[in-house]
């Protein structure tokens, strides 16, 4: 448990730092990947919805504390993304990179669409088609590429967690 917490904390902080600084230089047509939401989705898929929800909540809360106009918005959204990604894919063979890429794509689109809709609900200006084709879709594709890199990392981290757990049991 301790091991798990330390590893997740470390990964989240590292990604948060990269996301807010160096990732600026990886923008393609103005769009950069969202590392933290990709981490949430991949964790939920590879591990389970509980860990996905915890990672989503904590990384969302970090974004809220750093940039959010209100505290809790991204935390809530991250938690639900983790739960959804973990539970809807429960029956599918998880340790397959293509499954992870596919669901990263689907949940990235869902997540960013919700962010866009909630932020624009007040202004009558509805440019959803533009937002979808120019921001949401490219970001989802970008996130898929990131998920390919994250997948083996989380699989081996997961094995390490489980090894520690079974070692303690027996």
């Amino acid at each position: 448990m301790k091991r798990k917490l330390v590893v997740y904390f470390f990964i989240i902080f590292l990604l948060l730092m990269l996301q807010t600084t160096l990732l600026q230089y990886t923008r393609i047509r103005g769009v950069m990947p969202n590392l933290l939401i990709t981490l949430t989705i991949v964790t939920a898929l590879v591990r389970n919805s509980t860990e996905g929800a915890a990672v989503g909540f904590f990384s969302g809360f970090c974004i809220d504390m750093q940039f959010g106009p209100v505290l809790g918005f991204y935390a809530l959204l991250g938690m639900y993304t983790g739960i959804a990604a973990g539970s809807l894919s429960r029956r599918i063979y998880r340790e397959n990179v293509l499954v992870v890429v596919f669901f990263t794509f689907v949940y990235s689109i869902a997540y960013e669409s919700v962010v866009f809709i909630i932020n624009n609900i007040m202004s009558g200006d509805i440019g959803f088609t533009f937002a979808f084709t120019k921001v949401i879709l490219p970001e989802a594709i970008y996130n898929c590429a990131v998920s390919v890199l994250m997948f083996p990392l989380l699989v081996s981290a997961g094995k390490w967690f489980d090894a520690a757990r079974s070692a303690r049991k027996y």
Binding site: R29, C62, I63, Q66, F67, V70, G72, A75, L76
Partner: protein, 286 residues
Amino acid sequence: MPRPVKSKWFIVALVTIVLLVVIGVTANKSSKLNWLSNILSVPLKPVQGFLSSVGREIEDFFGYFQDIDVLREENEALKSEVEELRRKNREFAELKEKNDELRRALNLKAEFADYTIAGANIIAVEPGNWFSVFKVDVGERDGIHVDFPVVTGSRGLIGRVLDTDISTSNIQTIIDEESAVSGWIAKPGGGHAIVKGDLQLKEEGLCKLVYIPIEIDIEVGDIIETSGVGGIYPKGIEIGTVIEVRKTNSEFDRYAIIQPTADFKRLEEVFILKSEKYDETGSAEQ
């Protein structure tokens, strides 16, 4: 196992309720809960500052090779421009003298006389692709408050302070979708209009001028300044130049595309205009 499943959903429901309350409470800017954000932004400030500067170093290094050709051409163009400007400068010097004389006669205050200027470095940028908000390395401790105007070294408008922590603050740029600034079309018979950020234009570092009065003949090249209406920005800060006028459905429904004076792709150091008036009222409140 029905029991753990039940308790799992109970935790989710509980967290949801707590977060909704926190969202509600922190929506009010003066709420004490907003202090929580210091827990993260204070320790992360040096790390982000370091990483941002590393990123710039790397970019500068690679930019060096790409820039050579561009610089040569630019040098030629600039040389001829210098001649032209020298000539104009002499004319302006005369005009300035006259202007100063008239100002004194009218007893007008100098530009930004009520403000002191604080320099700040950009240390982080908002993680998502939606907004154009960045974090700088000065905060409440340096006397920065919400709504202070932010400008570039050449006094082009960048935006305003969105919120502050002890040692950092977030700046909302004028190209951010949520930003709206009251602008003044600076030409004879000019008028008020609104400079708004736009999701489609943000990527190119541009913004939009809307609600242009019907009687104004807006043209490419017109300069837009802050109007001073609304109380956030002092009058006369240059916002940008009109680069295109677009008509929508009718002649009366039109907007212009603005090239901001500040180059949002290459921002490093910014200047925050600290209002002295604010400090007086601020301390009076406490």
